[in-house]
Amino acid sequence: MTMEEIRITVNGKKEELHVKPWATLLDALREELGLTGTKEGCGLGECGACTVLMAGMPVNACLVLAMEANGKHIVTIEGLAKGDGLHPLQQAFVDIGGLQCGFCTPGMILSAYALLHENPDPTDEEIRKGLEGNFCRCTGYTKIIESVRVAAGRMKG
């Protein structure tokens, strides 16, 4: 079995990796790059815990082959904060308390990021719809919706 070489840009940094042909983007991020912020919940694309942005689109990293990501820009949760400051979404989740155990949080925040990029002023209904692919067992979603609403307000300025 030969390893395949891929070139991906992760959080703005160019990376050259050698991966097994069947490795997923999730494997590559966690095992090769040590970016453990992206979580594996189900490994089948059903929970959204592994959500990352690929070419700006939210994807389940467990369903993307590492080779498929070749040449693409990936953003993980580690790439959201700039310097010492948090991204407004991250800050809103902190301020409102939109998390409990935190396991779904990286994926949830990235899905919210993608949502607000497409729809900067969503209704609560639209926020719920936009986060439908991210399962949370702890919060009952109430404070997650509120966090995204607050972030949207702050980001609009």
């Binding site: 979580k39 919940g41 059903e46 396991f103 067992r137």
Partner: protein
């Protein structure tokens, strides 16, 4: 409520920043040099004798470094009680549920380990299985454990007062059969552990456990090492909810044994499928409930016959069946009570604890039956609850139930009033009743749950507060935050007691080498018990600071005040110095001093007798009233839950954000188990073993939720607190089923209430198709 500096404030969670940045490390995020991966090989039968295991082909596969089977554990078994330690780390002579672990492999990567598992040849003698608890009770059923030839894992028969006489004298008596569903905890983070067995005789593990100290005792016993050589370093935990993460699983023991064999660190991470087919589930119970009332709707007696589906091993079953029975005498006055309960072994995955442990089943049955009786008697459902509700005891007094549970505060009536006055209930008749094929309904419930669980055995806990020389504070406890926010609350308690700022408290991760023992997160005990320990430790440290200030200012320590990060003589508040300065004075004076405070919880114990059902396992009890608004599509049976209003008496909300979040999350979990979740089982096989098919709510399935704090300021909790983690998972299913009754006129007694069940029931009443 008193004016506090930190308590009661909406401070950010102490661990929020690392979680939103993706920096919080969970068990699967840890790695060590030379680490191997472990996979567990599992049996293809739900009940079978193991005749022979041949691991030779697996051992020869390139990349495989070690293989273990049940025999490697030398006959060791574990359990919740010594007399029910019937579970081996890997099956030895027989398997008792489908996919029970029989061997495990450590290899250079997961794929190789998986392939090796397939090369392990096991010869089985398949045995007939029994899967239904009422079947398992019958004579002639296959025997699952030799030490319980009648398959009865647990059996209780309690009697208080005289139910027969009370029923005979009742104006009305109802008997109904209820059933709760086959459901699981549903945490998003699968169990995982990284273990290293040091050949010099010590074990270090990073496991996902909400009760790390139970696991450390299991490992000490299993590997015959002293406790001081077992080091559990606790990662962040991705959800607990009781059961699996309060206990150990096959993978946990296998990685340690494989590390011992290979000399390398070994890690396992269960895939979600393994979680949904092999991990602990909530018991599903059949409840034959008989309830009597006077003509005015006052409870006369309840007789509950409960049959619990235990699965293949005992685990925490004895406690489950105790809790399922003990709470029936609350939160409504009950003068006569009989409880007959059986937990049966069946060839299914093991049933254990889950949030709302025990209470969820029987409070559901009793609350619904009260609603049914109210309907028959023509009494308003709120009125009947208020007539029976236990009153809030006066200060200095306590209420005692007939089975010797006592509590000093009970905010049930206030909670019921709060939800009744809230718009969801108050304006329900002005809101839309029909919209196309949908009919709306509003329901109400009033329930209770135990907090501050303490039983005989090492259930106590301690804390250490260390003042760093710069005035920041290290809080060291063995208490586990599995996501519920207890670390935040403990830090707030330390800050308030010390007079320091919340931002200056750093709570350390549990590490059994350094942190004092704590049984962990269950029975809503951390805020109460570890909270008290923290309070006492902080007071101890504070005393040393007060003494230092007193010496510096030449006054008595009683004249010194420390608050919100400043210290000052009470008589001269403008002479204040910062907490940091005071710490420096205390630490650097003379040859220096180390300011260390210690405290342990001293609630003591009220012995519980499982056999008679008497005794009190909780420090206090929470009370929850809830309303639910939902819409039923009368064509498809689909339910849309639109609103919850939850009034929760948690004593005092120490961290309002967490209290709300726990109530919201618990309610959605309760909603989920009332209408969505169910394992479709066939002869021990779980048909729906993915998150797609084992449905749990998404953001679009959950309602808008309003939480109202009912404040009763309990004298036993730190700063008046009671539990606020489990009340709403008990209150939601009966309120939801009550709402379904309001919408359809039908009482549903079996959970989950799926669209099929609704359509079937409507059809039976001649109302479907519409």
């Amino acid at each position: 409520m008193e004016e506090y500096s930190v308590i009661g404030k909406r401070v950010p969670r102490i661990d929020a920043k690392e979680k939103v940045m993706g920096q919080a490390k969970y068990a699967a995020d840890y790695s060590l040099q030379g680490m191997l991966w472990c996979k567990v090989a599992r049996a293809p039968y739900p009940h079978a004798r193991i005749l022979n295991i041949d691991t030779s082909r697996a051992e020869r596969l390139p990349g495989v470094k070690g293989v273990v089977t049940g025999k490697d554990f030398g006959g060791w078994t574990w359990g919740f009680m010594a007399i029910t330690s019937d579970e081996p780390p890997l099956a030895v002579e027989k398997v008792r549920y489908l996919y029970e672990g029989v061997a495990a492999v450590a290899a250079v990567d997961e794929e190789t380990a998986e392939e090796a598992c397939e090369l392990i040849k096991v010869e089985y003698e398949e045995l007939p299985g029994v899967f239904d608890p009422e079947e398992a009770m019958k004579a002639g059923s296959p025997v699952i454990h030799d030490y319980r030839p009648n398959n009865v894992s647990v059996e209780y028969h309690w009697s208080f007062g005289d139910v027969d006489k009370a029923f005979a004298e009742s104006y009305i008596v109802r008997e109904d059969r209820f059933e709760t569903g086959k459901v699981v905890t549903g945490f998003l983070e699968p169990p995982a552990s990284l273990a290293y067995y040091d050949p010099s005789g010590s074990i270090t593990v990073w496991p996902s456990k909400q009760s790390p100290y139970f696991h450390y005792r299991h490992l000490a016993a299993c590997f015959k090492l002293p406790l001081s050589k077992i080091r559990i370093i606790q990662p962040f935990i991705g959800g607990g909810f009781g059961g699996t993460k309060n206990d150990s699983v096959a993978g946990d023991f296998c990685v340690v044994m494989l590390s011992k064999k290979t000399g390398k660190p070994v890690k396992y991470v269960y895939p979600m499928e393994e979680v949904l087919t092999t991990c602990r589930r909530r018991h599903n119970m059949i409840i034959y409930n008989k309830m009597g009332m006077t003509k005015d709707g006052l409870l006369t007696a309840v007789a509950s016959r409960v049959i619990g589906n235990g699965g293949g091993y005992t685990a925490i079953g004895p406690l489950t069946m105790y809790l399922a029975g003990c709470g029936t005498t609350m939160p409504y006055k009950l003068p006569n009570y009989k409880y007959d309960a059986w937990r049966l072994f069946t060839n299914n995955p093991v049933s254990a604890a889950m949030r709302g442990h025990g209470f969820t089943h029987t409070r559901f049955a009793c609350d619904i039956q009260m609603g049914m009786l109210a309907e028959e008697l023509g009494i308003d459902p709120v009125e009947i609850k208020m007539r029976n509700a236990i009153d809030n005891p006066k200060r200095g007094e306590e209420y005692r139930t007939i089975n010797d549970i006592s509590f000093k505060t009970c905010g049930l009536k206030q909670a019921i009033n709060a939800v009744v006055e809230d718009r969801l209930w108050a304006e329900r008749n002005t809101m839309a009743r029909e919209a196309g094929p949908k009919t709306y309904g509003v329901g109400i419930s009033g329930t209770t749950y135990q907090g501050g669980a303490r039983q005989l055995g090492h259930q106590s806990c301690a804390a250490v507060v260390r003042i760093c020389e710069d005035g920041t504070v290290n809080l060291i406890t063995g208490a586990t935050d599995c996501g519920q926010g207890s670390d935040t609350v403990l830090a707030m308690i330390a800050a308030e007691e010390l007079g320091a700022r919340y931002e200056d408290i750093s709570i350390k991760r549990v590490d059994s080498a350094y942190t004092p023992v704590d049984p962990g997160s269950y029975g809503s005990r951390v805020t109460l018990l570890a909270g008290q320990a923290t309070q006492l430790a902080a007071r101890d440290a504070k005393k040393q600071l007060l003494d230092a200030a007193a010496r510096a200012w030449g006054i008595a320590p009683e004249e010194v005040e420390i608050r919100s990060g400043f210290a000052y003589p009470r008589s001269k508040p403008d002479r204040r110095i910062s907490f940091e300065k005071l710490a420096k004075i205390a630490c650097y004076e003379g040859s220096g001093a180390v300011v260390l405070g210690r405290g342990h919880s001293d609630y003591g114990l009220e012995e519980i007798d499982f056999n008679t059902g008497t005794g009190n396992g909780g420090t206090s009890y929470s009370f929850t009233a809830q309303t639910v608004r939902l819409a039923v599509d009368m064509d498809t049976g689909k339910i849309d839950v639109t609103d919850f209003t939850i009034a929760h008496d948690g004593g005092v909300p120490l961290h309002p954000v967490s209290v709300e979040s726990q109530n919201e999350g618990g309610a959605v979990q309760g909603q989920s188990q009332a209408m969505y979740e169910q394992f479709i089982m066939e002869k021990g096989y779980t048909h729906n073993h993915t998150l797609l098919d084992y449905k749990m709510p998404r953001s679009t399935d959950s309602p808008d939720i309003k939480v109202i704090d009912i404040i009763t300021d309990d004298p036993d909790g730190p700063f008046g607190a009671k539990e606020a983690s489990e009340g709403s998972i008990v209150s939601t299913p009966p309120a939801l089923v009550d709402a379904l009754h309001d919408a359809t006129g039908i009482w549903f007694k079996e959970l989950p209430v799926t669209p099929e069940k609704i359509v079937k029931a409507l059809k039976e009443k001649g109302r479907w198709p519409t």
